[in-house]
């Protein structure tokens, strides 16, 4: 007979439990099965019938093991006492469940434990050091009372915990006991286990732990520290938990992953994962080529699942992720740049910008008649159409779709007071938006148009009002976007420096100096134009100070050394 015995706690899928028990017993390991008290008599009978004739299998006294209650510990105690009593040859007791599956051949486990005859494998961590407990209850598991079920009476549970905290109620922890927590799946030596089970303080210990919350994660984990000299604080059973504290289940498609883990047993397996059971319970498992162990891969897989569930993918809005305001964790998927007034002031600004930064430069995405995608496309990444109606039906949706669809390529677009303004507030709030504004630049095309001055005046007044409103949004305290605003007068005074700053921010690694400046529109007579507007009773304020007749100097004068070296 083997020196390793198994205790198996079962409450569902008994055919699988029986299969594993038969496998273990077949390799000479005695198995004591505990069947939950709530399981029907018929199911128990079937299980027993299923296992008749298999030597070294025993059934222990039944307890009702609802999650988080004492019953699970009582069941473990009864089953392991039985195991120790009935099978004197057993040196290590391995606690497992009905949905556990051995990952490595049983002889390997036996040999491994034979080499470490005095070692107790049990995850046992002081309460201060665990970060994984549910509900934030660590030390309080040991010092409060928990008469209500966490699963079924959550409100009462929470309220009672709050009440005890307020009243500063504390249970006394028995002297000499240092609370430890850990995975409930352990493997202890006969010496240690019997010392716990036959301890003179057992009655007192049991009485104390009966009122501790989730005692199966703390009873043996705490007491082992008092009796064992050789605790190896890790579990030989692989088990992973999701963000709700529910164990992750393994399926057939995890086969390769499990083959590369270096654990001996895994919990828990989906009962219908035929391939896993077939593979790991096959007799020639030992002769199969061993995969290189890579346990980190499993950790990463499940850590990613938890992250996906709790944080999600930034900038993604979809059927099962629709974050509330300020809970977006990234309102858009990637940084992008918005240019206001640049296309008015410079000729072919988009071509120049595309060349200078290597990004995708769109026209006015929010133009009133159609979406001006780069390259004048009718339809864009992700089959996003250029219809203004569809865009205006949900402007935010349009923008975050565009940014999501073009992940990996920075997007730039033009904006201005002639565009639909509804998106402005969203832009201002988005930390991914880099917004650069030359205020009042909308007047430049007006200056060049060939229309009646009264119409120009009317349009100028309207555009100025729209832009002023937009600037107010951009200057609000709640703005998260990276906003830069220059007046037209300020900007043309020294255009290269702001351009260089913006471009450095877009592509910080390319330390290229701007050599070619975009061509500025001809502004000769612009000051007079503004004066004419004033004379007609309109007050152009957003352009800054443009004295009539004082035409700006042409930019060429400053071309030589456009940027100050830091």
């Amino acid at each position: 007979m083997s020196t390793v015995g198994f205790v198996m706690l079962c409450h569902t899928s008994f055919d699988r439990a029986a299969q594993v028990a038969r496998h273990l017993a077949g390799h000479g390991c005695p198995v004591v099965i505990h069947v939950d008290r709530r399981v029907s008599r018929g199911a128990l009978k079937r299980l027993k019938r299923d296992l008749t004739g298999v030597a070294d299998i025993r059934f222990s006294e039944r307890f009702s093991g609802e999650w988080g209650t004492w019953g699970l510990v009582a069941a473990t105690q009864a089953a392991s006492s039985l195991l120790l009593r009935e099978f004197p040859g057993v040196r290590h007791v391995y606690l497992s469940s009905g949905s556990c599956l051995p990952l490595r051949p049983v002889p390997e486990l036996v040999a491994y434990l034979d080499e470490r005859p005095k070692t107790d494998f049990i995850e046992s961590v002081t309460t201060e050091d665990v970060g994984w407990t549910i509900g934030g209850l660590n030390t309080e598991r040991f010092t409060l009372r928990f008469p209500f079920s966490w699963r079924k009476q959550r409100r009462l549970f929470d309220a009672y915990v709050r009440l005890q905290r307020r009243l500063r109620f504390r249970r006394r922890i028995p002297a000499g006991m240092v609370p430890h927590l850990g995975s409930q799946w352990w493997c202890l030596t006969r010496q240690t286990l019997s010392a716990i089970l036959d301890s003179p303080d057992r009655e007192e210990n049991d009485r104390y732990f009966q009122r501790v919350w989730i005692p199966d994660e703390s009873y043996f984990q705490t007491l082992v520290r008092q009796v064992s000299a050789n605790v190896e604080s890790r579990s030989l059973t692989l088990s992973k938990f999701d963000f709700q504290g529910k164990p992750h289940v393994f399926y057939d498609d995890h086969l390769q992953l499990l083959r590369r883990s270096d654990y001996f047993v895994v919990r828990k397996i989906w009962p219908q994962a035929d391939k896993l059971y077939r593979t790991f319970l096959s007799e020639d498992l030992a002769s199969q080529p061993q995969a290189e162990p890579n346990p980190g891969k499993i950790d990463r897989l499940f850590a990613k699942a938890v992250e996906r569930r709790t944080k999600g993918r930034a900038g993604l809005y979809m059927q099962s992720r629709f974050p509330n305001l300020n809970w977006e964790n990234g309102m858009t998927a990637a940084p992008y740049s918005v240019f206001q007034g640049f296309a008015d002031l410079f000729e072919n600004f988009d071509t120049w910008l595309g060349k200078a930064t290597g990004t995708r430069v769109h026209g006015h995405l929010f133009a009133p008649d159609r979406v001006e995608f780069a390259g004048d496309e009718r339809i864009y990444n992700g089959a996003l159409p250029d219809s203004a109606d569809l865009r205006d039906y949900n402007p935010r949706g349009f923008l975050y779709n565009l940014i999501w669809n073009t992940r990996g390529e920075r997007q730039c677009f033009q904006f201005g007071p002639r565009d639909k303004q509804k998106i402005g507030e969203f832009l201002a709030r988005d930390p991914h938006a880099q917004i650069s504004v030359i205020s009042g630049a909308w007047a430049v095309p007006l200056f060049h148009t060939n229309s009646n001055f009264s119409d120009i005046r009317k349009e100028a007044a309207q555009l100025q009002k729209i832009e002023a409103d937009h600037l107010r949004v951009l200057r609000a305290l709640t703005v998260k976007a990276r906003v830069r605003i220059w007046t037209l007068a300020e900007f043309i005074e020294n255009p290269m420096e702001p351009l260089q700053t913006i471009i450095d921010e877009i592509s910080p690694r390319s330390s290229r100096r701007l050599t070619e400046a975009p061509r500025m529109a001809d502004l000769t007579g612009f000051g007079q134009f503004l004066q004419n507007l004033r004379n007609q009773g309109m007050q152009p304020t957003l352009m800054g100070n443009f004295p009539a007749g004082d035409d700006p100097r042409p930019m060429i004068a400053r071309r030589g050394r456009p940027y100050l070296v830091k």
């Binding site: 498609d253 989906w270 499940f302 699942a305 059927q319 992720r321 629709f322 089959a383 109606d389 779709n401």
Partner: protein
């Protein structure tokens, strides 16, 4: 949400259930094999009309997923659909000649059958041209998903409708019986869906896709809804309100996370745009039995005669569920 509003929704739910109860008389059982339904069987409910040549593939697809019993309502088919279905051992069939429109597009009939037969079962409610895709559907049967949902205390599972279309005019490749429709309609739009929250019922209202951009680009509010919640652990008190877009009680519509995370979700691949579609659109326009005075079909009809091609250079070719998950159309949530 106030007490009054909650109470009004409760009344609405009861009204839909009473309506469904009254509509039961319109149904005649042609083959009732519901006694063979076992306690934890997965059920599929479907209303159909003249879908004979699509059914073989539909049935084999869902049998492979692990559906144990199918419950069909046949609305006056005349192409042999009924005869074909009555021959299948795992199918129960009811027939009716009553108005599809006045049963609220089949919802009342199915609500009744679900009330009667689906209590306590995981149920999938789909149309004959909808194919359910969920995370890991290529390696794990539907039962794995429902077991996981049970363990996570989740009662309803979202699957957005994803319109699939062929490259070129939709009449070019004829569909023949038993064929996988996505051999023909293998393209879809990956990133032009927009959504808004429906305050009253708490569901998301998703619109977009090829239909919105081709037929409704000047009337986006009329574009069809794509949000669907087809998989529900049914309770006899539940009721679908409008197609499978939303349910009552409204907690079942909360299939999305509002705090930044992603819940698990799937897709319903929509094999509507095959060569059969043009014929169907014509027929449905004449029958006027569809939603909003068959507006949708009228738009299709006009659109299809003018520009019958959904395909564009940004269309994505369907590969598998992982592709949909990477594109952000569905999510694994914390199922790993």
């Amino acid at each position: 949400m106030g007490i009054l509003a909650t109470y009004m929704l409760r009344l609405a739910r009861k009204r839909w259930r009473i309506r469904a109860f009254r509509k039961r008389r319109e149904l005649t059982a042609a083959a009732n094999r519901t006694t063979s339904i076992r306690q934890d069987d997965l059920l599929l409910f479907c209303t159909i009309r003249n879908e004979r040549n699509r059914l073989p593939y539909f049935l084999s697809y869902y049998r492979d997923l692990g559906i144990n019993h199918f419950l069909f309502v046949d609305n006056d088919s005349d192409d042999g659909t009924r005869e074909y279905l009555t021959r299948q051992a795992d199918i129960s069939l009811w027939t009716t000649k009553a108005s599809y429109k006045r049963s609220r597009y089949g919802v009342d009939w199915l609500n009744w059958l679900q009330m009667r037969y689906a209590h306590g079962h995981w149920t999938l409610v789909v149309d004959a041209d909808e194919f359910f895709v969920y995370p890991f559907c290529d390696t794990r049967p539907l039962r794995a998903l429902t077991d996981w949902l049970d363990a996570s205390s989740i009662r309803s599972f979202s699957a957005m409708l994803l319109d699939m279309y062929p490259k070129g005019p939709i009449c070019r490749h004829p569909y023949h019986e038993g064929q996988d429709p996505f051999e023909i309609a293998q393209w879809f739009d990956s990133g032009n869906y927009t959504m808004a929250k429906n305050r009253k019922y708490g569901n998301l209202w998703i619109q977009g896709g090829p239909r919105a951009r081709t037929f409704f680009s000047d009337a986006p509010e009329r574009a069809p809804a794509l949000n669907k919640i087809p998989l529900v652990k049914w309770h006899r008190d539940y009721a679908y309100v409008s197609s499978t877009h939303m349910l009552l009680p409204r907690g079942l519509n909360l299939v999305y996370d509002e705090w930044g995370g992603e819940k698990a979700s799937g897709c319903l691949l929509h094999a509507k745009f095959l060569d059969t579609f043009a014929v169907k659109a014509q027929e449905e326009m004449a029958r006027k039995q569809h939603y909003a005075n068959s507006n949708e079909y009228r738009a299709y009809h006009e659109g299809l005669t003018n520009s019958p091609d959904f395909w564009c250079k940004w269309s994505e070719k369907y590969i598998n569920w992982r592709q949909l998950e990477i594109l952000g159309l569905m999510s694994k949530g914390n199922w790993a």
